[in-house]
């Protein structure tokens, strides 16, 4: 696949730094799931930024023209979480099944449903024939990871307290093979609690 960002890598870097407009970020995110090259470099960019975070103050420009209000969309952090949690950058040997599982229209999403029962959020999903375990991940509205649950069952319950007390959160389920590689995942789903404070 020809990468449309191959000659314009500034977009990737501005995305990693949270400096893209929402529209541009969403366009890039759609591309991100289909392009290994950009996913790899984004992973590198995030890790370099994280590694140098404590060294950033001296070099940081205080007159940055980019408004701090530009925030990552949810999908951005979710994409990063997928890449990072699966060790994408380092595990080329497991990349092919990962790519098939997390990207591409041909991958059939895992069917999963969630519901609120009192102060608990319950998730159920279909069993995947090759899955050894499942990873349920929850994110806040701004993409911040809230909680994750790993289980060999096809259901999980999470108390709606602590980080999960958020009014709005997102979740999905990944099916993991014996090596911990995601081989299928559900669609990202949004939950808005009307009863939350």
């Amino acid at each position: 696949m020809q990468c449309p960002y191959g000659d314009d890598d500034e977009i990737l870097r501005r995305y990693a730094a949270g400096r893209l407009s929402r529209e541009a970020a969403e366009t890039f995110e759609e591309h991100l799931f289909a392009c290994d090259r950009c996913a790899d470099e984004l992973q590198a960019a995030i890790e370099v930024r994280a590694a140098l975070a404590t060294d950033r103050r001296p070099a940081h420009r205080t007159t940055r023209s980019v408004p701090r209000s530009v925030r990552y969309s949810f999908l951005a952090a979710a994409a990063a979480a997928l890449i990072i949690s699966l060790g994408f950058w380092q595990s080329r040997s497991s990349q092919a099944p990962l790519r098939d599982a997390t990207r591409g229209a041909e991958a059939r999403p895992l069917a999963a449903t969630g519901s609120i029962a009192g102060e608990t959020f319950n998730v159920h999903w279909q069993r995947h024939p090759r899955a050894r375990q499942y990873l349920v991940q929850f994110f806040g509205e701004d993409g911040t990871p809230l909680q994750s649950v790993r289980t060999s069952d096809t259901a999980a319950s999470v108390p709606l307290s602590g980080p999960m007390a958020a009014t709005t959160f997102y979740w999905n389920v990944q099916a993991l093979d014996a090596g911990g590689v995601a081989i299928d995942r559900s669609e990202l789903q949004k939950v808005v609690r009307r009863d939350a404070r």
């Binding site: 890598d9 500034e10 870097r13 501005r14 990693a16 730094a17 949270g18 400096r19 290994d36 090259r37 790899d40 470099e41 992973q43 590198a44 960019a45 995030i46 890790e47 370099v48 930024r49 994280a50 590694a51 140098l52 975070a53 060294d55 950033r56 070099a59 420009r61 701090r68 990552y72 951005a76 952090a77 990063a80 979480a81 990072i84 949690s85 060790g87 950058w89 380092q90 595990s91 080329r92 040997s93 990349q95 375990q133 990873l135 701004d142 993409g143 911040t144 990871p145 809230l146 909680q147 994750s148 649950v149 790993r150 289980t151 980080p163 993991l176 911990g180």
Partner: protein, 101 residues
């Protein structure tokens, strides 16, 4: 790695993506960065921390756009190699994929 509750808060508000990096991995990359040459480290900082435009980076470093592209590729490759010293795996970074023995 999997299944743990991810409640990282350090810097998450300002930079939620980097908050997704586990502390151990962060230290690992930081150590690898310190082993890089000054030029590589400075280039990666300008690229990914400052996220400056290519033209500005090239001007700062006194190189042309083509050289910048090559140096970026090589810096990422060297960082990748340093990281793989610990992991002994196949690594890919940035613009290319390098299968390491």
């Amino acid at each position: 790695m999997f299944g743990r509750t991810q409640a990282t808060t350090t810097g998450s508000e300002a930079d939620p993506m980097t908050a997704l990096i586990e502390d151990g991995r962060r230290d690992q990359v930081r150590a690898a960065m310190e082993k890089l040459g000054h030029e590589d480290r400075e280039l990666l900082r300008l690229l990914y921390v400052e996220a400056l435009p290519n033209a500005q980076i090239a001007q700062t470093l006194g190189i042309d756009a083509g050289t910048l592209r090559v140096r970026k590729h090589r810096a990422l490759k060297r960082l990748s190699a340093l990281l793989s010293d610990d992991d002994d795996g196949n690594v890919s970074v940035g613009e290319g994929t390098q299968a390491r023995a």
